[in-house]
Amino acid sequence: MPALLELICPAGSLPALKAAVDNGANGVYLGLKDNTNARNFAGLNFDAKSLAVGIRYAHDKGVKVLMALNTYPQPATLPRWHQAVDIAATTGLDAIILADPGLMAYARKTHPNLRLHLSVQGSATSYEAVNFYRERFGIQRAVLPRVLSLPQVENVVNNTDVEIELFGFGGLCVMVEGRCLLSSYACGDSPNTFGACSPGHAVRWQQTPKGMETRLNGVLIDRYADNEKAGYPTLCKGRFDVQGETYYALEEPTSLNSMEMLPEMARLGIAAIKIEGRQRSPAYVAQVTQVWRAAIDAVKKAPQTFKPNPAWMAQLNKVSEGSMSTLGAYYRPWK
């Protein structure tokens, strides 16, 4: 039987992996300590040793381990990505999550039994695109960008054999993943090539007479009054001026929370729900995993009567960016 609503949780470190496993994840996803994945942050991710420990811990409890290799390899450093695929194939990982067709071809040819997932960074928003990766490289699952409404998701599901995974909760990209160069325009490093957006090395916080200012490579992303809590300067979530009006011109600092749509996602046959946040703490992972485990179990038991428990929503809001959440593009008026 195909998978239904597997809970896939972020593991930025071994303690986070254990937190996900212990709190009911069906799978965890992780990356190596370099720019082969889209959470290339100092102090995060896995080396060979912690990877082996993590895989054993997860597999002992029947939890799958997926590796994100979802940045775009570049000519000079292509061997690094190939090596990462080889590591994945030989350490007993359950699947790798890729964005780049060239890398998929390498994985397919070199390790034909390795299960391939299409990353959200692959920007596939239609079944024609998803089926391209299926036919050429045999991908078995695709993670859809956070841009489609649920009826649009349904149209993809109905026209492909590929399992579909959706984002359920966490940081929200307002742009199509894999199609956003705002970060490299401002500071030279993009998610596609460097594996991080608005990277820490380009960030400056400065208290000024006008308030706390946050900058990215010198560009003023936002300025906070004394009674406001300053947020990380992710550049699509700052306040800017358009025609004399200062506001969150692209998106508010907010998180995605699609829990109320779980029954509909179950009806569509969505294979897995992904929780964002490899850069977040083990405590975040534990809490979010626990809540989503309970929610998914409740949906599977009684989809007709499912309502998100207010206590769950309160817990999730506490760990949301800006303590706010949105249904994002799943809900059409957001667009």
Partner: protein, 299 residues
């Protein structure tokens, strides 16, 4: 090197769009990219209109390429895409991998657009096998990487390279319309406010620096990428076509400056001054140098 006029990224009235291309037929560009690549709600010209234009421009001696929508969301988007691919009279630029699938199935040669994210030779080779005869590197790709791509054995010699060389940089796409958001409208009822902003809406930092440009669901740079002063480097790098991105004013004169550069009638060092008054924003060239895209080095 040849010159191309990239797809029109903004939404202009039907009259203005047709007048623009009527003029463009007389400009010294070799190729023109036609079609709506940004937003499916922009409908003042539909496929039959673009095809009419394409016939006229072909008759005027131009190469015409039909450019596909970058973000495909609905079945009607796919229907429009299939129609464009099915026509078969003109070369097509594929801007996402669904279009690549359809073009490869048909066995039609195509142009691999900048949003296909060909960052390495293996991926470019897959595009070549699928029928790409020309590719446009991601706009953030630096000079040294373009050279490495073209030097790789996996990439066929015959592959043409078209570089985004002039215009506001298309940086990001979203499901959300930022122009509608600015006017507190929903995308489905946007009242086509893009029509009021023929070069997009400038988004400034809170200290007044022009930073980005809102163009419906697309976000562009506020600065204008220009590689005119680096024309010699473009030759050396093996670039075959320079893409100039349409703007509402002075486009014909921008084309003339690039044509004069290619002909050697003006020196590369004189280009910035010639372009200065023709540009809707400050220049930038950082991506080409492997730096922040907004950086600028006048040489």
């Amino acid at each position: 090197m040849k010159l191309s006029l990239g797809p029109l990224l903004y939404y202009w009235s039907r009259e203005d769009t047709l007048a623009f291309y009527e003029e463009a037929a007389g400009w010294p560009v070799d190729s023109l990219y036609l079609g709506e690549t940004v937003c499916s709600r922009r409908h003042l010209l539909r496929l039959p209109d673009w095809l009419d234009l394409a016939e006229k421009l072909t008759a005027a001696g131009k190469e015409v390429v039909l450019s596909t929508q970058t973000l495909i969301e609905s079945e009607s988007d796919l229907k429009a895409l299939r129609k464009m691919v099915a026509d078969g009279r003109f070369l097509v630029e594929a801007n996402e991998w669904g279009a690549v699938r359809l073009l490869a199935e048909k066995g039609a040669p195509f142009v691999a657009g900048p949003t296909l994210n060909a960052y390495n030779p293996d991926t470019l080779a897959i595009l070549a096998e699928s029928g790409a005869k020309r590719w446009v590197p991601p706009v953030e790709m630096p000079r040294e990487m373009v050279k490495a791509m073209l030097a790789a054995t996996a990439v066929p010699e015959s592959m043409e390279t078209e570089l985004f060389a002039y215009g506001r940089l298309p940086l990001a796409f979203s499901a959300r319309c930022f122009t509608a958001r600015h006017y507190n409208l929903q995308k489905d009822d946007c009242q086509f406010r893009c029509l009021d902003h023929p070069d997009g809406l400038t988004m400034r930092t809170r200290e007044g620096d022009d930073f980005l440009t809102l163009n419906g669901i697309q976000t562009q740079s506020a600065k204008v990428m220009s590689l005119a002063h680096r024309i010699d480097e473009l030759h050396t790098a093996g670039i075959d076509l320079l893409r100039l991105s349409p703007q509402s004013r002075h486009m014909g004169r921008v084309v003339e400056v690039f044509r004069a550069l290619l002909a050697g009638d003006i020196a590369a060092s004189a280009a910035p001054e010639k372009l200065d008054k023709l540009m809707p924003g400050q220049p930038c060239d950082g991506y080409w140098l492997g730096e922040a895209g907004m950086a600028y080095h006048p040489m």
